[in-house]
Amino acid sequence: MSTVTAPPTPKVELRAVRKNFGTTEVLRGIDLDVAAGEVAVVLGPSGSGKSTLLRTINHLEKVDGGSVRVDGSLVGYRRSGDKLHELREREILRQRTRIGFVFQNFHLFPHLTVLENITEAPVSALRRPRRAAEETARALLARVGLADRAEAYPKQLSGGQQQRVAIARALALEPGLLLFDEPTSALDPELVGEVLDVIRDLAAGGTTMIVVTHEIGFAREVADTVVFMDEGRIVERGTPAEVLDAPRHERTRAFLSKVL
């Protein structure tokens, strides 16, 4: 694996990550470093393992081999000798509060207002005072352009607005790392832009993020690194110019010729 100018401790460090669903190997040994402040965009055909890869990073998916580190510490496990012991749920939950995750289908809580959706985790997981959490939430809503929708219920918002709320909800924990799992795939085409604008802003603000997406144009514009996956392996990685304009691998070329 050739890595681009990695600082001493990468923000995210995957080593030989393997994952099976039954007899299907979904991840077949993934090595990936993402530096602090880096925006990595993961591309690849459906079923290539990109979403699963993303989900191993906050331990929504347990790995069957290899290791995942964020900020230098193992996610979901504790090492003793040559064994990795899975942590207690409480400890895993604490690790997750430092990793924001945005889902393809938003998964906002439909019975809570927009404001309650955003304040829930800071108040109950981080024990922030409610008043302070609400202030932060309103600031975040303003940042994603929804300052006036704090009291609305998710169903009353468009898909694009819901996804922006979901991003604000992830940001409310002030995570050092944001993971996006196809954030625009469930949106009507005319709503994709508003969500990408928000992600673009965050990227410009220096947030470390890993984005699984099919938006090649967005990858070209925002990514520091483009990772191309196929059949559970990273086929190639490099700058957008390298991977998107001069792909070295046949499979990357085939994929790009279909989507571009």
Partner: protein, 302 residues
């Protein structure tokens, strides 16, 4: 304005037949402001519906008059006992027995549902077995069994079982264990109706197990739980009348005690009937409001 059979809106006026003989609307009486050439829409006549409604109302009227006129109903006796102390005591017992069985039954049922959905195969099997067993036998048989439990275990913790479990305690115990089996399925169904992604989202946000259940899963599950639970509540209210077989003085048994003495069977059964109807109606209204509350954030609410 013509009421010609509806054609294309842009049909040229001169192609339409002149005023049709069946048209009920006189010229000029049609709805205002449509395009000048647009034909008027006339709904089909519903003669059959009207006839059926009249027929049903007449039959209903006849039935009600016969009930009111038939001396054998003895409405004066009904009125006399309706608020008598014995009946009200019986009603009181029926109400608190229903409440106790619902609360305890759903508490145990929720626990059983949690066991059934747990990752532990032993707990899952035990929960399944419980539901299987208590749903497999009639409540009457279970109640008689608990009533006679003293035969199997004459003493429990040094106390005589018969003293420990009086008829009322047997009623609470028997009905609760039976109720829990059904409640477990209702709660389990509610929990399963919540999208798996909701739990993942809560996990990704670092919410603890208890908080996920009480704040995210349960409120959403309630939407699916309330209607069948309301059904069960009404069923339980009426079902408690079964405890009259073990001589617990509920609403039904209280009226039975009276008519065993006075032989006024029908009017006293009417007293019980009217009370059951009254309480059930109040509960239905309560259910409606509860459903509205848990519909927050879904579609049309607010």
């Amino acid at each position: 304005m013509s009421s010609a059979p509806l054609r294309f809106l842009d049909a040229a006026p001169h192609l339409r037949p002149p005023t049709a003989p069946t048209g009920p609307a006189p010229a000029g009486a049609g709805p205002a402001k449509t395009a000048p050439d647009a034909p008027v829409v006339v709904p089909a006549r519903r003669t059959g519906q009207w006839a059926a409604a009249v027929a049903v109302l007449v039959l209903l009227g006849l039935g009600l008059t016969s009930v009111a006129r038939n001396e054998a109903f003895q409405w004066d006796v009904v009125a006399h006992y309706f608020t008598s102390a014995a009946v009200l005591r019986g009603l009181g017992l029926t109400l608190w027995l229903t409440a106790a069985v619902m609360v305890l039954g759903f508490a145990l049922g929720t626990l059983l549902a949690a066991l059934r959905l747990s990752a532990n195969p032993v707990l899952r099997a035990v929960s399944w077995g419980y539901v299987w067993f208590f749903r497999s036998t009639p409540i009457l048989v279970q109640l008689l069994f608990w009533f006679n439990i003293g035969v199997l275990y004459p003493r429990v913790l040094g106390v005589s079982t018969v003293d420990l479990l009086g008829p009322v305690a047997v009623a609470v115990l028997g009905l609760t264990l039976h109720e829990a089996a059904y409640a477990a399925e209702v709660v389990r169904g509610g929990i399963l109706s919540v999208d798996r992604g909701q739990i993942e989202a809560a996990q990704a946000l670092g919410l603890g197990r208890t908080r996920r259940f009480t704040r995210i899963v349960l409120p959403q599950a309630m939407r699916a739980i309330v209607p069948p639970a309301g059904n069960m509540l009404i069923g339980t209210l009426k079902g408690t009348s079964i405890v009259s077989v073990i001589a617990v003085q509920d609403l039904l048994y209280s009226t039975q005690l009276v008519y065993h003495r006075t032989y006024e069977v029908i009017p006293l059964l009417l007293v019980a009937t009217l009370w059951y109807v009254a309480v059930t109606s109040v509960l239905s209204v309560g259910q409606h409001h509860l459903e509205k509350r848990y519909a927050r954030g879904t579609g049309t609410a607010r």
